[in-house]
Structures are given as structure tokens and as C-alpha cells.
Subunit: 198 residues, 2 copies
């Protein structure tokens, strides 16, 4: 993989992705045109189309890279054993900082919005999300003993993504207090004894 990444073609793909990122920040997902991305990347539009057939394909690759990065971060949870919830709580502060990064929050918002209209984007984001959910669930199932684990994970992800929106709408949000409260919620979600009614 690292050999493949060192190829000039991969370096050019990477350059296009970085240029696309800057264009999306400035003009948004709809506003940024391929011509603008080409200009940012200092390449001809024809050259860009040699690597990516559409803006949607660029976005799909950006999302895939973002998910891969997240999955890599999750690897260290794999053998956490009964320390998993402790680790989730410890890392909540970092996670909040990353997930509420305005660029990713914004891109994620636009992609979710676009998914309601574009079946291809919807399928792509749902597939990646399902892969990630399956992986996280497998780690959680080994270590956490609560009912409705899948629904709890959805609520946890909703909270992280919702905080990304709040951070945009209310930038004066008291982050320290929010992280403190979110920690209590992680405890509630994943540490409550299950099968109380069994």
C-alpha cells in the first residue's frame, strides 16, 4: 500500500483531493465546480477527469478516506476488554474536537442532505456507515453487556454528529461542560447493566 501511494498518479489524486477540500470549504458541495477544483489543483480540467470522472467520485473518495481514518482509530478499541467504555469516555473530548471540525461537520451535513435526493450518494454513505457500524458493534459486543446495543450506538453517533451542528449554530457553546455531560451519557449508554428484566 505505501508503495502504491508513492506512485506519481497517487500523488496527483491526493493533490486533487486537497484542492477539492479547499474548494468545498469555500463554495460548498454544490457551489464548487470541477473547473474551480482544477484551478485550485493547478491542473487542466481534462487532467482532473483522467483521475476522477465526477465531483461525486471525488467526494466518495474523500468520505472513504475519512471513514478509513476513523476505522483505523477504532482498531485500538479492539482489544480494550473491559476498559472499552473507559477509553470511549477518555477519548470523547478528542472525538468532540474532531467530529465538530467545521470542515467535516459541514461536508457531512451536505452529504446527508444530498443523500435524501441522490440515490448513488445515499447508497455510498449507507454502505460505508454499515461497514463502520458492524466493526464498532463487534468490538462493543465483546466488551459491553447492555440491551439494544445497536440503538445505543446510533444514539451515541447522533450525539457526536448533533454536537457538530450545535458547534456551527452556537459557536459559544461551553465545550468543557458539554464534554462533561456527554461523558455521563456514554456511561449511561454503555455501562448500565443489561437484562435487568430477564
Amino acid at each position: 500500500m505505501s508503495e502504491a501511494l508513492a506512485k506519481p498518479a497517487d500523488a496527483r489524486r491526493e493533490r486533487i483531493l486537497r484542492a477539492a477540500e479547499r474548494s468545498f470549504i469555500a463554495s460548498g458541495f454544490h457551489g464548487a465546480r470541477m473547473a474551480q477544483i482544477a484551478k485550485e489543483a493547478k491542473m487542466s480540467p481534462g487532467h482532473i477527469y483522467h483521475y476522477f470522472e465526477s465531483k461525486e467520485q471525488i467526494i466518495a473518495e474523500m468520505i472513504r478516506a475519512h471513514f478509513d481514518e476513523k476505522l483505523e482509530t477504532l482498531e485500538r478499541y479492539r482489544h480494550a476488554g473491559d476498559k472499552l467504555v473507559d477509553m470511549m469516555i477518555e477519548n470523547l473530548s478528542d472525538s468532540f474536537a474532531t467530529d465538530t471540525d467545521p470542515f467535516w461537520s459541514t461536508l457531512m451535513l451536505e452529504i446527508a442532505a444530498e443523500a435524501t435526493r441522490n440515490d448513488e450518494i445515499a447508497a455510498s454513505i449507507r454502505n460505508m456507515n454499515a461497514d463502520m457500524r458492524a466493526k464498532v458493534l463487534s468490538y462493543l459486543r465483546e466488551n459491553v453487556d447492555v440491551d439494544d446495543l445497536e440503538a445505543r450506538l446510533e444514539v451515541f453517533v447522533a450525539l457526536i454528529q448533533g454536537l457538530g451542528i450545535r458547534n456551527i449554530i452556537n459557536p459559544d457553546i461551553d465545550k468543557e461542560a458539554v464534554v462533561r455531560i456527554a461523558r455521563d451519557i456514554v456511561e449511561l449508554l454503555f455501562r448500565r447493566p443489561s437484562k435487568r428484566n430477564a
Copy 2:
């Protein structure tokens, strides 16, 4: 107010807003052009500009109407006394159904994304949000005795809005389980005794 609303001009504004809503569902905030909205409303573009000077102004009025509707719903919490948290929990299921309505979820996502790029939209959404927060906080302060009330409210809103995103990305979400879990979170957020360290 109802007299004013009955005026022909208000009926036409309303017709334009409904047409804009349909256009945004089909093409999104960026994709929908004034010409398309005019066609949907069966009016000339010039006629539309007589009522709204831009698409942004149409969106601002749609959001204002949405916030006003929410504020009206909140009125009944005003004199809830110690039943406030019970009411919030009882109504969570309805709230989940409303806030995760794909149209509002999608529009909210695009508006939040646009707020990162457009200062006018950012100011408009932040002002409306601040009005709503102040009102909700005043009701909560009368009835709920917890620390970090403002941060708790942000976490609650984050959860509701985040569930709207999850509903788009994972439509198979187990809504009943999610509502059950969210109820426990509302209990945690607003019913925990405060000043435990005082």
C-alpha cells in the same frame, strides 16, 4: 394576526413558500432556482421578486415560521412546574418524529452547512436559535434544578438534531429503542440533583 394572514398578499407569500418547499425537496437549497420556484408556484419570476428579494429571504421566512411553530409548542411547557421533565419525556416520541422529518432535517442540514460560508444566513440562524434558547432556558430555570443547564440544553438539542441525521443515513434505525434510550438521557440531563458538590 389572523386578519393579516387572510390578506391576498399573505396568501401569495404562503403559496410561494409552499412552492419553495417542494422545490427544495426536489433540488436542494443550492439546486433550486428562483425560476423553478416561480414555475412551481405558477407565478412569473418577476411576481415572486415582488414578495421576496432572494432565495435566501424565502429560506429565512421558512425557518422563522418553523421556529415560531416550535416556540408555540413550547408555550405549553411554560406553566408545567415540576411536570416539565415528565412532559419532555412524554413528548420525546412526537419530537423525534417531527425533528427527524426528512424535509426539515434536510433543510436544517443545508442551512447549517451554508452558515459556515454565508454570514447573513449564519447571523439569521444564530439569532433565531438564541431567541429560542432564551425562551426554553427561562422555562427550564423555573422548573429544573441542575448545574450547567445551558450546556445540557445544547446536548439535548444536539441529540434531537443528530437523530435526524441518523434517520437519513440509517433509515432502518430501531425508532422505539432509540426513543426508550433517549428518554433515559432526558432523565439524566434534567432530573439529576444539582449542587452535589456545593
